[in-house]
Chain length 450, copies 2
C-alpha cells in the first residue's frame, strides 16, 4: 500500500520560525507613520503591539526561537499531515506529483492558529488583558478567540458584516471559545459609526474592520490589537507550515518544482513558500504562485505603492500592491481573500519576480473544489479552492507537456463552515464577477502620492 | 515537552476487524423475520444487503480481513490520533489520565466512514448501482455519500426532518459528495406517505427514515440498503477505532480502567470498547460505560425484548433494549442519539453486565462540551459531548477518591456542523427534557409478545 500521508512526530514541530528578511534580495520599504509620513518607530507601535512582536516585525535574524509554551499548544494539531494526492492525480491523469499540507486539522479549521497562538502568548506575557481584532470570513476571528481562551485573554472581534450574516457558524465558534463578536461596521467605534452614517447598508470590508479593531486597541490601555495576516511577524509564524513540509518532502525524497497558495493578505502562501524561497534566491528552479480572486485582484491588477492597511487610515502606510484602501470588494464567498492589499513581504517578492500571481473567477474555483472533494474527500474552504484551481491547471499542463513536476500546495482550511457557498454553487446561484479596472483606477487615484 | 498525541503510521491501520461474537459469553438471540417470526435466513437479507456483509453479520470468526481497497481509503485519515487530555486533566485537577481517540479527523467529521467505506466497497463488488440509506443528524448520510462517491455508487439519503431543517449544512455536504437527499417522512415512499397522512407535521425519527430507505432498497433491484449503526457488521467495522487505540495505549504504557462512548445505535461505543471487552470477559478489571440522553433513555429505561428496527415494521425483529419502535423522541440537538433501541451486541453485553449505562440531560452535556472546547480546543459534536460529560464525572470521582484511573473515550465527531446547538445553549434556549416513563410504557405495550 502506497503511503497517503507523511506524518512526522511532535518532536519535529519546528523549534524556530524562519525569517525571510534574512535572505531577501530587497527588503520592503519601511512603513511610514500615517500622520508624519516618517518611518514608523517601535515606539509608535507599542500602543497596540507587545514588544516581542514589534521586535519580530523588524528583525533581520534568519531564525527566531519558538517558545515552548507555544510549541505545546501547536502540538494539539501539529505537525499537520502532508498528503500525496494520489486520487486527484489519477482523476486528472497527470504525471505530476501533487502534495498538500493540510492545515484544516487545527481546532479552528485553518492555518490561522499558527499565529494567533504566539500572538496571544506574547500579549499575555506583556500583561495585556484583552485583544481587539477583525475577521473576514471568520477564520482569523475564531483562531484568535481560541488562542485568547487558551491563554486567558479576553477577545473582541469585529467581523465583516457580509460574512457575519452569511456565516453565523463562525460567529458561534468564536462565542463558544468565549469571544465577543460585533458585525462591522459597528456602532462601537468612531470608524464604524462614520461608515454607517455614510451608508447604513455598508457590507463591510476587512480594511474597515481593521480600522475598528485598531481604534478599540489604541483607545484602551489594557487592550492590544492582533492582525491575522499581512504583517511580517504573522508571515514569520506561518513558516512552521513550510518548515514541516520541507522535512516531510525529504522523507518522500521529493522537492517542489511549484508551490501554490491562495493569497488574501498573503500569510498562508508565505507560510508554505518562504522556507523554500531562499533556495530559489540561490538559483534553484522553483516557481511560487499566489492565487487570488478575479473580484479582488490585488497582485494582478493593483499598483505597488504606499497605502494604508485599513479603510479609515489609522494604520501606517505600507509598501504593497494595492487596489486602494477604500476599495470595497463584492461579497464573494471567499471572504478571506477580500482585502485591498497584500503582505509587504509577499508584495516585495512578487515585485522582484520571486513569486508569480494568478487570478481566477469563482465558478472555476468551485468546480475545482468539487473535483477535489469528490476525489481526495476533504471539502476545502472557498479561499483554499483558489489554490486548488491553480494546482489542477498546472497538473493538466504537466499532462499536456508530459512533465513529471512536483507540485506542493497549502490546503489552508476546510470548508465545513462554508457549505452554504457550495449549496449556492450547486444550485447555480453563483456568478463570476471581474472587478472593473476603472473602479480600481479611481480608488487608486484617491491615494496620497509620495 | 510531554507528548499530546500518540500517532502510529499508516502500516498500523488494522489489517483485520475484531468480531466480538467469537468471545461473548452469550450471543444475541437470532433476528426474526417480521412476517413469519422465524429466524432470519441469509436469503431473507439478500434483497437489501450484499452477501459479504450478510456473512459478516452472522460470522463467529474472531478476525475478519479488511480488504486492501478499504485500507487505502482508511489511509485518507487513519490511523486517527490518540490524544492525552493534559489540559482538561489540569482544569479538573484530577489524578485520572484521560485519553481520547479523535475520530473527527475523517473527511465527514465522525467515525461513520469506518463502516460506510467497506459497505460501499462490498456493494460495488456485488454489482450494486445505488445505495438507499437514512440519517439522523446527518453524520451517517454524509459518510455514506462520501463512500458512494469514492466507489462510484449513487446514494439516496432519507434524512430525519427535524435534522434536515436544523442542519442544512450536512445536507449540503451530502450533495457536495454527490448524494440525493430527502427530508423524512418524504412523499417518495409508502412508509413516508403513510406517516405524512397521519401527521403532516411529523418531525421524523431514525426508525421512520429506516423504513423509507429499506422500502426504497427492497423495491429496486439495483439498489441496496446500508445502515450506519445497530447491526453486527457495522460494529465490526468500527473496531478499527479500539484496535488502533490499543496499540497507541501500549506505546504510552497504559491500559484503560474505564472506557466511555456515547450510545445512539451503539456503533461508536462498540468501536472503541469491543477490542478491550475480551480482556474483561477474561477477568480484567475494566468498566465500559454507554452514555445516552435522558430524553431517549434506551438502555437505562427500555426493556430487553424483540422489537423492529424501524417504525413501519419492515425490518426483522431484533433482540434489543427498546423504548418501542414507534417511540418519537423529542428534537434534541444530539440527533444521532435519537433512536428507540440499540445494537443487539451492545444490548446483550449490557444485559450480561459487561457494559454499564448512564443517561444525562442536555444542559449538563453542553456545559461539559464547553469545558472541553475551552481546554482541549476541539468543539465536540453534541452526541460526543454525552461521553465527555461522563468522562468529566468519572475524572472528578477519581479526584474525590484520590485514584489515578486511566479513562479512554471516543471523541466520535467534531461539532462544526452543530454550532447552532452551541448558540442555542449559550443563549439559554435549551431546556432539559426527561422522557416520561408512562409514554415509554405505552409504546412498549404496543409491541408484539413472543
Amino acid at each position: 500500500m502506497k503511503d497517503t500521508k507523511i506524518i512526522i512526530p511532535e518532536k519535529d514541530i519546528p523549534a524556530r520560525w524562519y525569517n525571510i528578511m534574512a535572505d531577501m534580495p530587497n527588503l520592503p520599504q519601511a512603513p511610514l507613520h500615517p500622520a508624519t509620513r516618517q518611518p514608523v518607530t517601535p515606539d509608535d507601535l507599542s500602543a497596540i503591539f507587545p514588544l516581542a512582536l514589534i521586535e519580530q516585525e523588524v528583525s533581520r535574524e534568519r531564525w527566531i526561537d519558538i517558545p515552548e509554551e507555544v510549541r505545546e499548544i501547536y502540538a494539539l494539531w501539529r505537525p499537520s499531515p502532508l498528503y500525496r494526492a494520489h486520487r486527484l492525480e489519477k482523476a486528472l491523469g497527470t504525471p505530476a506529483k501533487i502534495y498538500y499540507k493540510y492545515e484544516g486539522v487545527s481546532p479552528a479549521g485553518s492555518h490561522k492558529p499558527n499565529t494567533s497562538i504566539p500572538q496571544a502568548y506574547y500579549n499575555k506575557k506583556a500583561g495585556i488583558r484583552r485583544i481587539a481584532t477583525e475577521t473576514g470570513a471568520g477564520q482569523w476571528g475564531s483562531s484568535m478567540a481560541l488562542a485568547g481562551q487558551l491563554f486567558g485573554l479576553d477577545v473582541t472581534v469585529y467581523m465583516v458584516k457580509v460574512s457575519y450574516n452569511q456565516k453565523p457558524y463562525r460567529r458561534i465558534a468564536m462565542e463558544t471559545w468565549g469571544a465577543e463578536v460585533h458585525a462591522s461596521p459597528s456602532a462601537v467605534t468612531q470608524s464604524g459609526k462614520k461608515a454607517l452614517e455614510a451608508d447604513p447598508e455598508n457590507p463591510g470590508s476587512l480594511g474597515l474592520a481593521i480600522s475598528e479593531a485598531v481604534e478599540d486597541a489604541a483607545t484602551h490601555d489594557d487592550t492590544n490589537y492582533a492582525l491575522g495576516s499581512v504583517l511580517n511577524h504573522v508571515c514569520l509564524h506561518q513558516t512552521v507550515i513550510g518548515l514541516e513540509a520541507r522535512k516531510q518532502l525529504e522523507i518522500a525524497g521529493d522537492f517542489p518544482d511549484i508551490i501554490i497558495g491562495c493569497c488574501g493578505g498573503g500569510s498562508n502562501l508565505a507560510g508554505i513558500a518562504f522556507p523554500f524561497i531562499a533556495d530559489k534566491i540561490n538559483g534553484r528552479d522553483l516557481r511560487v504562485i499566489a492565487v487570488e480572486p478575479a473580484s479582488c485582484p490585488t497582485l494582478t491588477k493593483g499598483e505597488f505603492r504606499y497605502d494604508y492597511g485599513d479603510v479609515a487610515g489609522l494604520t501606517p502606510f505600507l509598501m504593497m500592491y494595492t487596489l486602494g484602501h477604500d476599495f470595497i470588494p463584492p461579497g464573494i464567498h471567499a471572504g478571506g481573500l477580500r482585502y485591498h492589499a497584500d503582505s509587504p513581504l509577499v508584495c516585495q517578492l512578487y515585485h522582484d519576480g520571486l513569486i508569480e500571481a494568478k487570478a481566477y473567477h469563482q465558478l472555476g474555483v468551485f468546480e475545482a473544489a468539487l473535483q477535489f472533494a469528490r476525489t481526495e474527500s476533504i471539502i476545502p474552504a472557498p479561499e483554499t479552492a483558489h489554490a486548488i484551481k491553480a494546482v489542477i491547471d498546472e497538473a493538466l499542463l504537466c499532462k499536456e507537456e508530459g512533465k513529471e513536476r512536483t507540485i506542493l500546495f497549502n490546503l489552508s482550511g476546510h470548508g465545513y463552515l462554508d457549505l452554504q457557498a457550495y449549496a449556492d454553487f450547486l444550485e447555480g446561484k453563483l456568478t463570476d464577477y471581474e472587478y472593473p479596472e476603472e473602479k480600481i483606477k479611481e480608488a487608486l487615484s484617491r491615494l496620497p502620492v509620495f
